[in-house]
């Protein structure tokens, strides 16, 4: 399945784009999505286990995703 992941702030800068697309089997885990993203050129600067949100909720590394899900890689937050 093609899967797009949103990138923000320092992570978007590190990869040079606000989103990245990877192709993975349906039902892949968040961990597999992150590994696939990090194997792409330029994205190896992302940490190995970043925070990830699926459909705007924080997800665990074992959360399974489908092509319809909104996946976002979340840098350490710094609001307030």
């Amino acid at each position: 399945m093609p899967l797009r992941a949103l990138l923000f702030a320092s992570y978007a800068d590190a990869v040079g784009a606000p989103e990245v697309e990877v192709d993975l089997p349906d039902g892949s885990t968040v961990r597999e999505v992150v590994d696939a993203i990090r194997s792409r050129h330029g994205a190896d600067r992302l940490p190995p286990a970043p925070l990830v949100a699926v459909n705007q909720r924080y997800a665990s590394a074992e959360t399974r995703v489908s092509a319809r899900d909104e996946v976002a890689i979340i840098p350490p937050v710094a609001g307030g």
């Binding site: 320092s10 909720r57 710094a78 609001g79």
Partner: protein, 148 residues
């Protein structure tokens, strides 16, 4: 109870008025502002960005859970995005309650939870012309749920 992510200057007095009422004997107003130094570097401004939809949802969840924890509290909070100058407010939290203890505590919970889990980032602009993303508490990455 209200929360919002906005792109305009914040009006602390308006948020305070929003939660004030004759049934509330105490109202606490927290205003977070842009500071002129960080880690010894002269700061000239801060640029705030967000994963907006999720930030709105997280902030709303924080207000709802805080209200559930302190029955009788009324909370209004706004977080601003964009480039802010020194002294400008990035967040305003107004919390009112019949008694001061709960008003202070509720205000504190909202700011701490916001810093912990709302997906907002800031890039500091320094006097020497450079800019850097601030990674508060970076290091081991854990999901906010796991930390809770």
């Amino acid at each position: 109870m209200r929360s919002a992510i906005v792109d305009r200057p914040l009006d602390a007095a308006a948020l305070l008025a929003e939660v004030s009422g004759t049934g509330h004997g105490a109202a606490v107003l927290f205003v977070g502002t842009v500071r002129d130094t960080n880690d010894g570097r002269a700061v000239t401004g801060i640029e705030y960005t967000a994963y907006r939809d999720m930030a709105e949802r997280e902030l709303s969840d924080i207000v709802a859970s805080t209200a559930a924890r302190f029955p009788g509290v009324d909370i209004a909070v706004e977080h601003r995005l964009g480039t802010l100058g020194l002294g400008e407010a990035s967040i305003v939290i107004a919390a009112a309650h019949p008694h001061r203890g709960a008003a202070y505590e509720a205000s504190r919970v909202v700011i701490e939870e916001t810093k912990r889990r709302v997906p907002i980032w800031k890039r500091e602009h320094y006097a020497d012309g450079t800019r850097e993303w601030v990674h508060a508490g970076s290091g081991t990455q854990r999901t906010p749920e796991a930390v809770a």
